[in-house]
């Protein structure tokens, strides 16, 4: 499973999205379930899936799926183009 697929599955499971709703352009404001508990859940999921521990300020600053990819890429997690 590629990191891109892992991230997609994580986002679907954390925010309870359908496959059709998912895209790299997905923003926090588009998802009602991206609430404060959702932020915590996402941070734990990123740690479990990619081994990277998001600091609280990083987790709350993330506003889109693209932001997650950027943070992870900057911290050594590679995503296929």
């Amino acid at each position: 499973m590629t990191n891109r697929s892992k991230l997609k599955q994580l986002i679907l499971d954390v925010f309870l999205l359908s496959e059709e709703e998912y895209s790299l352009n997905l923003k926090r404001e588009d998802i009602q379930t991206w609430d404060s508990l959702g932020v915590v859940s996402m941070a734990v999921g990123i740690q479990e899936t990619f081994g990277y521990h998001l600091r609280p300020e990083q987790a709350t600053a993330i506003a889109s799926v693209s932001d997650i990819i950027q943070v992870l890429t900057e911290n050594g997690v590679h995503f296929d183009v």
Binding site: L10, D13, L16, L17, T33, D35, L37, S41, V44, G45
Partner: protein
Amino acid sequence: MIQIKSEAAISAQHGLLASAWDSNESFIFTPSPCPVTDEWLRTLIRRLPSELYEDHFGILTSGSTGTPKLIMGSKYRTGELSRLINEHQQLEPVQNAILALPLPYSYSLVNQWLWAHIHGKTLHSTRGMADPQSLFRALQCHSASMLCLVGSQVPLLRRYVEPGMQFPEVLRLNFAGGPFPQAELSWLHEIFPSAIIFHNYGCTEALPRLTIRPASDFDDPMTLGAPLPGVELDIDASGGLRFRSAFGCDLIADEDHIQRVQRDEWIATGDQAERLESGHFRLLGRNSEVFKRHGEKVSLAILACSLRQAWNGELAFYLETAPDGENGHVLILSPVPGQPAVRKLLLHLREHFRRPLWPIRIEGVEAIPLSANGKPDTTTLCQLPRTQLWKQIL
């Protein structure tokens, strides 16, 4: 005081029950298998107030606590309740009661056996969903009948009723003793085309009826009908639903305590509820099925009702402490669904419930084990191999 033991050949007991009911002597009707020993019962009987040795009857229940309790009530006042039920459900045209639940349940005993006894109707025993074909034959053979079920029997009914099968002789169909099967209401009207379907609420301590309403009165299965005349409902400080009833029990006794119930005394139903602006009461579930998670009240009964809109199979819950240290619930589905069905349920959860109300996991099993009263047996369930279908990341 005599003890009548329920046997498999229930029909043989009708005469025995009738004699006991019509005599002045009190009796206790025990189920089979009986959760207590004869010695347990004899010891308790010796401690009962002497005035209960006449004109009363007793049944055993474990209620929401799992501890066996003896509930005793007045034959006269329970008879009055049966007449009230007859009036509220307009049961005059009904000639036959078809028994599909164990007779020692207060629901079967009062709504069916006693009703038939008092009003000169005929009671027909079946083994219920343990032998669906004999139940179906009874429903087809006996005209103008009344059937009492619990909601957890409906999935079994669905499994055994063949396409096109109908039971037009059933004129009244009662549900009590658990969540009302609202999601199956249309289907129930199809197979019982002549029946008025009733949503009843009560408990053994009430012997047993507190409210009766036609199912068509509300779309929400958790909303109760108005209390019967002589019955009051209220909510206590901890959100528990309680009642006072002119027809309720006179005594609640277990191994350690004997509680003599006064007519003006509030008795806990074992359920949590809220009062709606309309004045009606809305159930939230059994005390053990309502808990707080991240400060939000979770009602497993309400969750189950809602999830049935997105899942046609069977479902159950068990409780577990979540990895975040909070109380949590695990949703069990049967048969084991594929990912599209799981995703449909997840979308339903997202649409209707906030995150604290989501299960901490969804698991699948081949079949959900049921206890003798048709409710999910969560103890056995937790020992079965289960397939994890989704988990909440906590």
